[in-house]
C-alpha cells in the first residue's frame, strides 16, 4: 500500500438533521502518525463528525479518503475493519467477561466451536501488558477501573491493527494519575504508527498531548494548525467562541428579595461541597462542561439523588424525595424532555394538569371542562403552537414540547423552577420565546435555576452565574456588562 502523507482527508463534509446543519462543509486533513485534537463548544459538530467517521451516521454529502481511498463506512464494525477504532465515552467492554475474553471477543480461534488458546491470545495479552502491566488476563472486567477498561479497549484496537484510534473525551471519568498513564500510552501508540484523533473539552490536555488541533464552531471548520503555532489557551478559546454577539442581558432593578433556596455544603458522588442561595424572582445559571455536575445539582435538590449537606427551601429543611419537592413547590424540567418530562403519547390536554390533578378533580374524577380550560389558558399564555389541545405531545416541535413541560410545572404551582438544558434541540425562534417566558416568570416572582452548557443562553438570561468544573463551584459572577466570556471558558475548562 502506498503510504500517503495524510491518513485521513475530509472534503466538503455535510450532515443535515431536520432543521439543523450539524456539519457544514467541513474540510481538513489528518496527518499520519500524529495526535490530532478536535475542539469546539457543545454543539459545534465534533460528535456528529466523529459519528460519520465511525459509521454511526450517514453523511448528507462530501467525501472522506482513508489512506487515499474513498472511505464511507455504514456501521461501526465496517469502520473497525477498515482500521478506525473508537474509544467511546460509553465503553464497549463486557463487564461480566474476563479481560482475556474481552480482548478476543469476536476474534476467537475455535475447533468445532470449542475455544482454543493460541499464540494470538498471548500476543494480545502482551500488547495489553506492554501498555498496562497491572491488568491480568483472568480478571473480570467488572473489577477494573474505568481507566483500565479503556486500556483493554485500546489494547484490542492496537492488536487489530488499527490505523486510527478515535478517543472521545477519554479523560472524563479517570483520575490525574491515570490521565498521565493514558498520555504515555498515546505517545507509544504514535510511535507504533497509529494516528490518534483526540477529543476533549480540557484545553490543557490538548496542549500537552496534541500535535495538531482542529477547531470547529457551529458546524463549521474554523482552523486546523500545528499546536506549536497556537500561542496559548486564550487563542484557542477565541477560535472556539468566535465573535458571538450575545443577546443583551438586561439587569433587573436591584430589589432585595428574600432568599428562597439555601444550599449548604452539598456533596455526593459527583458534587463537592457546593453552597449557594437563590432569591425570589432571581434567575441563576449554572454553567459547566458535560460532566461538571449541573444535572447532579438539580437532581439533588429535587431529591432524586442522595446527598450530604443541607438544603433549605423557604426556611424549612427539604426532605430528599421528588414528591416532597413537588409538594414544597419545586419543579424540575429535565434534560431528556421526551423520556423524562413528557407523556409523549398523551395529548397536550392530558399532559398539562398531570402534576396537580387534584386541583381539577373531585372524588377522584377529573373535571374535563376544567382540564380543557386550563389547557387552553396555558396554550395561550405560553404561545404553544398547535392546531388543537388534543394533539399528541410527540407530534409537537421541540420548542413547543418544552412549553408543554413548562406548563405542567406552572400548573403545579411551583415557586422554584429548575430547567436543565431548557433549549436543547429547540430552534432559534422558539428559543427566544422560551427566554421571554422565563423572564416573565421571574418578574412574577418565581425563582428560576438554569442548568446549561450553552454560554450565550446563560449570559443572556441569568442574574447570577455559577461556574462549575468537575463537581465543584469554581466561581460566582453577577451578570452585567463587564462579564468576560473568555474568562468563563477559561474557568470551566479547568484553568485557574
Amino acid at each position: 500500500m502506498e503510504v500517503t502523507e495524510n491518513v485521513l482527508e475530509i472534503r466538503n463534509l455535510v450532515k443535515d438533521f431536520p432543521g439543523v446543519r450539524a456539519v457544514n462543509n467541513v474540510s481538513f486533513d489528518i496527518k499520519r502518525n500524529t495526535v490530532h485534537c478536535l475542539v469546539g463548544e457543545n454543539g459545534a459538530g465534533k460528535s456528529t463528525l466523529i459519528k460519520i467517521l465511525t459509521g454511526a451516521y450517514n453523511r448528507t454529502s462530501g467525501t472522506t479518503l482513508l489512506n487515499g481511498e474513498a472511505y464511507n463506512p455504514h456501521n461501526p464494525r465496517e469502520a473497525r475493519e477498515k482500521g478506525i477504532s473508537t474509544l467511546f465515552q460509553e465503553l464497549n467492554v463486557v463487564d461480566q467477561l474476563t479481560v482475556e475474553e474481552n480482548l478476543t471477543l469476536g476474534m476467537e480461534d475455535t475447533t468445532f466451536g470449542f475455544l482454543r488458546k493460541t499464540d494470538k491470545i498471548n500476543k494480545m495479552i502482551s500488547v495489553m501488558n506492554s501498555i498496562e502491566p497491572s491488568v491480568r488476563p483472568w480478571q473480570r472486567v467488572s473489577t477494573l477501573s474505568v481507566a483500565q477498561k479503556q486500556i483493554v479497549e485500546i489494547a484490542k484496537a492496537a492488536a487489530t491493527e488499527s490505523n486510527i484510534i478515535i478517543m472521545d473525551e477519554p479523560t472524563a471519568a479517570i483520575s490525574e494519575r491515570e490521565i498521565e498513564r493514558l498520555f504515555t500510552i498515546i505517545q507509544r501508540l504514535r510511535e507504533q504508527n497509529v494516528t490518534v484523533i483526540y477529543i476533549s473539552h480540557r484545553l490543557d490536555e490538548i496542549f500537552e498531548i496534541g500535535d495538531y488541533v482542529t477547531v470547529m464552531r457551529d458546524g463549521k471548520h474554523i482552523d486546523t494548525k500545528p499546536l506549536s503555532e497556537v500561542k496559548d489557551r486564550a487563542e484557542l478559546i477565541k477560535m472556539m467562541i468566535g465573535k458571538t454577539v450575545f443577546e443583551q442581558y438586561t439587569p433587573k432593578e436591584e430589589t432585595a428579595q428574600e432568599v428562597v433556596l439555601q444550599v449548604r455544603n452539598l456533596s455526593n458522588h459527583k458534587l463537592k461541597d457546593i453552597s449557594f442561595d437563590v432569591r425570589a424572582g432571581e434567575i441563576v445559571g449554572f454553567y459547566g462542561l458535560v460532566g461538571a455536575g449541573k444535572t447532579e445539582i438539580a437532581r439533588a435538590i429535587y431529591g432524586a439523588d442522595r446527598y450530604e449537606g443541607e438544603i433549605l427551601f423557604n426556611g424549612k429543611k427539604l426532605q430528599p424525595a421528588p414528591d416532597k419537592a413537588i409538594a414544597a413547590g419545586i419543579a424540575l424540567v429535565p434534560e431528556e424532555r421526551r423520556s423524562q418530562g413528557l407523556f409523549t403519547i398523551l395529548t397536550i390536554r392530558s399532559n398539562v394538569p398531570v402534576m396537580n390533578l387534584e386541583k381539577i378533580s373531585r372524588h377522584g374524577f377529573i373535571n374535563s371542562a376544567a382540564e380543557r380550560n386550563i389547557t387552553a389558558e396555558y396554550i395561550d399564555k405560553l404561545r404553544i403552537v398547535t392546531d388543537s389541545a388534543e394533539k399528541e405531545a410527540s407530534k409537537l416541535s421541540g420548542g413547543n414540547q418544552q412549553k408543554v413541560v413548562l406548563a405542567k410545572c406552572l400548573f403545579a404551582d411551583a415557586d422554584l423552577l429548575m430547567l436543565d438544558e431548557p433549549t436543547r434541540g429547540v430552534d432559534v425562534g422558539a428559543k427566544s420565546e422560551i427566554y421571554s417566558i422565563i423572564r416573565q416568570l421571574s418578574y412574577e416572582g418565581k425563582s428560576i435555576m438554569i442548568f446549561s452548557s450553552e454560554l450565550p443562553e446563560i449570559m443572556n438570561l441569568c442574574d447570577t452565574i455559577y461556574l462549575l468544573f468537575d463537581g465543584s463551584l469554581k466561581a460566582t459572577i453577577p451578570n452585567g456588562d463587564d462579564v468576560d466570556s473568555e474568562q468563563i471558558i477559561h474557568i470551566v475548562t479547568g484553568g485557574e
Binding site: 464497549n92 463486557v94 471477543l105 475455544l115 494480545m124 501488558n129 501498555i131 497491572s134 491493527e161
Partner: protein, 355 residues
C-alpha cells in the same frame, strides 16, 4: 501496525509474576464467597431439615425416611424434566432472553410422543420425530423474537398458548390425554425410558439428563456459544461492535431450548405412560425459579449451568420432601416461603456486592 513490535518492549514473564494488588477488604471477600457458594448451603440445609424432621418415627435411611434409597430414587426420577431443561434455559437467560413456552412445548412433545408410540412406531423413531418437533418450536420462538423483534415475554407467551392449543387439539374428543384403551392398549415399553432401572435404580432418562447437563456445562465454559451468550447478555452494543451475530446465536439458543423441552416431554410421557396435554403446565415457572436460585441474572450476562442444576435440586427436594413431612395444604405455602427466603438472600447479596 504490527502487534509483535509493541510486545518486544516488555518483559512478559516479569509482568506475570508481579502480584495482583489486593484492594478488596475482608467483608467483601466473605460476601463474595458466600454469594459464590450459598446455593450449596441452601440445598444442604433443605436436605438436613427433611432428614431430621421425622427421625422420631423412622430411622435414618430406613424406608419412609427422606434419605432412604427409595425416596432418593423417587426424587431423582421426578427431577428428570426440570434437570433436562434447566441447563439449556440457563444459557438462554445468560444471553438476556427468555422462553416462557417451555412448559407447553413439553406438553406438546409428550402428546406427540405418546401418539406415535400408541400408533405403533418404535421408540427411536418416535423420539426423533418428537425432537424434530421440539426443534421446530425453537425455530418459531427464535423467529418471532430475533427476526420479527417481538419482545421475548410476549412472543413466548403467544407460543405458550399456541403449543398448548395444538396439544389439546391432537387429543381426541372426550379424552383427557393420549392413552391406550382395552382394545388398543399403550405398549408397556413406553415406561422403559423413564422408569426402568438401568443403573443404581435409576432409569435411562435420568442419565440422559445428567449427560445433557455435563454437555451444557462444557458448552457454557468451553465453547464460543457460551462466551457469546454471556457477551450478548452482558453488553449487546459491545457484542455487536465485536462482530458477534446476536440474531444467529440467540436463535440457536432458542432451538436448543426447544430440543430439550421435547426431550423432557418424552421423559414425562414415558413416566406417565400417556401423553397429557397439560403435563408441562407450570414447568416454565419451576425452571425460571431454579435458574434464578442458581444466581443467573434476569438481565443476562452471567450465570452458571451447574448452579441452576443445584437450584433445580432444591426445588425438587422441597417438593418431594414435603410430601413426607407436612400436611398437603401447607405444602404450597412452605414451598413459597423457602423460595422467598432464597430469592431474597440472592438479591441481597447481589445488591450488596454492587456497592
Amino acid at each position: 501496525m504490527n502487534p509483535t513490535v509493541l510486545s518486544e518492549n516488555v518483559n512478559v514473564k516479569h509482568v506475570q509474576e508481579t502480584s495482583l494488588p489486593l484492594r478488596q477488604n475482608w467483608p467483601t471477600v466473605v460476601k463474595r464467597t458466600v454469594k459464590e457458594y450459598y446455593i450449596y448451603f441452601v440445598l444442604a440445609f433443605v436436605v438436613v431439615v427433611f432428614s431430621v424432621a421425622k427421625l422420631d418415627e423412622v430411622a435414618l435411611f430406613e424406608r419412609g425416611h427422606f434419605l432412604s434409597p427409595d425416596n432418593i430414587i423417587n426424587l431423582l426420577r421426578s427431577a428428570v424434566p426440570i434437570l433436562t431443561l434447566s441447563g439449556a434455559f440457563t444459557l438462554l437467560m445468560i444471553s438476556g432472553y427468555i422462553d416462557l413456552s417451555i412448559g407447553s412445548a413439553m406438553s406438546l412433545s409428550a402428546v406427540v410422543f405418546a401418539l406415535m408410540v400408541l400408533s405403533g412406531f418404535g421408540f427411536l423413531f418416535a423420539l426423533i420425530v418428537t425432537l424434530i418437533v421440539g426443534i421446530g418450536m425453537g425455530i418459531l420462538n427464535g423467529y418471532l423474537v430475533m427476526k420479527l423483534r417481538i419482545t421475548p415475554v410476549i412472543a413466548t407467551l403467544v407460543t405458550l398458548s399456541l403449543y398448548k392449543g395444538i396439544a389439546l387439539l391432537i387429543v381426541p374428543d372426550g379424552l383427557s390425554a393420549i392413552k391406550g384403551n382395552a382394545e388398543h392398549p399403550m405398549p408397556a415399553w413406553i415406561n422403559n425410558y423413564a422408569r426402568q432401572d438401568v443403573l443404581l435404580g435409576l432409569p435411562l432418562a435420568f442419565y440422559v439428563a445428567v449427560l445433557a447437563i455435563v454437555a451444557l456445562i462444557m458448552v457454557q465454559k468451553k465453547t464460543i456459544l457460551g462466551k457469546y451468550a454471556a457477551a450478548i447478555g452482558g453488553n449487546p452494543t459491545a457484542a455487536a461492535l465485536s462482530g458477534i451475530n446476536a440474531v444467529l446465536i440467540v436463535w440457536l439458543l432458542y432451538i436448543i431450548v426447544g430440543f430439550f423441552a421435547a426431550l423432557a416431554g418424552v421423559a414425562r410421557a414415558s413416566f406417565m405412560s400417556l401423553g397429557d396435554p397439560l403435563s408441562g403446565d407450570g414447568m416454565e415457572l419451576a425452571v425460571i425459579i431454579a435458574v434464578l436460585l442458581g444466581g443467573t441474572a434476569f438481565s443476562g450476562g452471567e450465570g452458571s449451568v451447574a448452579k441452576s442444576v443445584v437450584g433445580a435440586m432444591i426445588i425438587i427436594s422441597v417438593t418431594v420432601g414435603m410430601l413426607t413431612v407436612i400436611p398437603a395444604y401447607w405444602q404450597t405455602f412452605a414451598m413459597g416461603s423457602v423460595l422467598l427466603i432464597a430469592a431474597a438472600l440472592n438479591h441481597y447479596l447481589q445488591e450488596e456486592l454492587k456497592t
